[in-house]
Amino acid sequence: MAARTTVPFGPQHPVLPEPIQLKITYEDEKVVEVVPAIGYGHRGIEKACELNEYTKNIYLCERICGICSYIHSVSVVEVTEKLWPVELPPRVKYLRTIWAEMSRTHSHLLWLGLLADAFGFESMFLQFWRIRERVLDLLEMTTGQRVIQSVNVVGGVRRDISPEQKKTCIETLNTVRKESEALIKVLTKDYTVKSRTIGKGVLTKEQALQLGCAGPTLRGSGVREDARLTKYDAYGELNYEPVVEEAGDSYARALVRARELFQAIDLQLEALAKLPEGEIAVRVRGNPPANEDVMRTEAPRGELFYYAKGNGTRNLERLKVRTPTFANIPSLLVMLPGCELADVPVIVLSIDPCISCTER
């Protein structure tokens, strides 16, 4: 019996809690065809950014994504700063790096939890999210908010990390590392976990480059590419080397994120230790000049690309955002056909889709 069934995978459905629709055609339980449809959550943020004053864009762009909110705010602030250009005090660079890595830590913990949920490992899912709470608490303590930090302004940051807070941060990060290690051991050794992820959704190095993937999806296929190598913020002064796995399957992508989790903790500890004294903001006068520039930052899900063009008024002429999931969706069209129904959630999740991010 080779009956063809077309099953909608999302949107507004418990099958995938993201507003994307994948029309998947199955032959028995085998996927033969995938058609993605997006556009359910389009908010026109790019247009709104052109109509807004540039200072208000920060709060709007932060809301493009709830998980990588901080990186969005760093990107929009820094792309605007590059138009003058503004020379930032070193403490600002370090603070931004610390918070960016904190949001990477919580995003990766969230993702690992979701992956566990995708293959029905509920206790692991809750355990990862329990650890994530600690990181969110750190963000709340240092910036004032757990999810949307609203801590960047053009020319600096609005909150500082006090010495007591620094101590708490270091203690909590060490706890997070200890607790995550126990769970990552499950990820790397458990038979049931491995049998659900190894060899599922293989993306070769050539395919990954050809399809223009970004972030852990790309690095999981053996490509050494990371926007942090452009040495923005304080990454140039920290000990940083991208995490690369060769296999290119869902398991490799999970491993990349697991290793990046520990790397992010290391980077935070290093940056906290090196945190220089000084101003936390410089005064920026006037409107953005009529320049254009791009800013590439590494969000937890991959490379984030901001393009800005000023025209001398308070409003930007054009602001373009390319989110990592936008680059990773084409890879699904290659990975899904041929796999089993049971593997679809794992493979879709392995690119860490954030659809509302994609549609801006």
Binding site: T5, T6, L16, E122, S123, M124
Partner: protein
């Protein structure tokens, strides 16, 4: 006769109460294993009565025939257990109940229910042979399929049938729909097939499904208790131990695929069953 009637009535009332409480314990213990508070123990009853009060929505008329069939077969097989009747018939009745459940899912148009039903069929394929071997094992040991005969024996079945006991533990995981076998319908497989076989049930009919699940749980634990009937409380303790073991396994394993499940239950379950029965025939010489 009057005695039997009273047993039947008591079983019909008490079994779902015990089943519901066990489900409540399940949720509480699972929550504690995951570091949560969890709902009150009697939450399943709250859910049940809330569902009863909801709107009746018919997706397909046929569906409800099957759901009542599922309930009837399950209740009758439970009565076979409490009245200590034939275990072979019990196993077949349980199989019929499973088939009703599958047909109920097939009678709707939802692709999720169809996927769930296909997988449920695979599950029946996986557990039914092992249960048949259990019946055969009982026959080989006692020379009779009657459950009352098991109660007359002084020596517990566990001593001679322990390989089948292990196989039945697998079946319990499959029937309780716990990881790694929460394949056809589960609380957590929402990303694959929503809720599989029960996707299209709602309100009072979903409450019925829950009721059947409670009967089913009591029935399965009762079958496990048969492995130690003299005294019976040891058997009940073993059954509860098995129940707790399932909760632990549920929390340390990921969901696996249907194909893997059939492979495992046939290779481990059937091999254990065959070895067990072959050994019994060789040593006892019963034919």
């Amino acid at each position: 006769m009057i005695d039997q009637l009273i047993t039947v009535i008591v079983a019909l009332i008490v079994a779902p109460l015990i089943g519901g409480l066990l489900f409540g314990f399940d949720r509480k213990i699972t929550a504690r294993l995951q570091g949560r508070y969890g709902p009150p123990i009697i939450q399943p009853f709250y859910d049940f009565f809330k569902l009863l009060g909801k709107q009746h929505i018919a997706v397909s008329k046929l569906q409800f025939i099957w759901i009542y069939g599922y309930l009837t077969f399950m209740v009758v097989s439970l009565l076979f257990l409490v009245l200590k009747l034939d275990i072979l018939l019990l196993v077949f009745l349980l199989g019929f109940a499973g088939v009703c459940f599958v047909l109920g899912a097939f009678s709707t148009k939802s692709p999720y229910a169809h996927f769930g039903a296909n997988r449920e069929l695979l599950q029946i394929l996986a557990y039914e042979p092992v249960l048949l071997f259990l019946a055969l094992g009982v026959y080989a040991q006692n020379g009779s399929f009657l459950i009352s005969e098991i109660f007359k024996q002084d020596k517990p079945l566990l001593f001679t049938l322990w390989p089948l006991f292990i196989a039945v533990l697998f079946i319990l995981t499959i029937k309780m729909r716990k990881s790694p076998f929460d394949i056809s319908t589960s609380h957590h497989a929402h990303q694959e097939i929503v809720r599989g076989t029960v996707t299209e049930y709602s309100g009072p009919y979903y409450a019925l499904i829950q009721l059947v699940e409670w009967y089913e749980l009591v029935l399965l634990l009762g079958i496990i208790a048969l492995f130690w009937t003299n005294p019976l409380w040891v058997g009940i303790l073993i059954a509860l131990g098995a129940f707790i073991l399932e909760l632990l396994i549920d929390n340390i394993a990921a969901r696996l695929t249907a194909r893997w499940m059939v492979r495992l239950s046939w290779s481990v379950g059937l091999v254990l069953g065959i070895i067990n029965i072959a050994y019994l025939y060789l040593t006892k010489g019963v034919a």
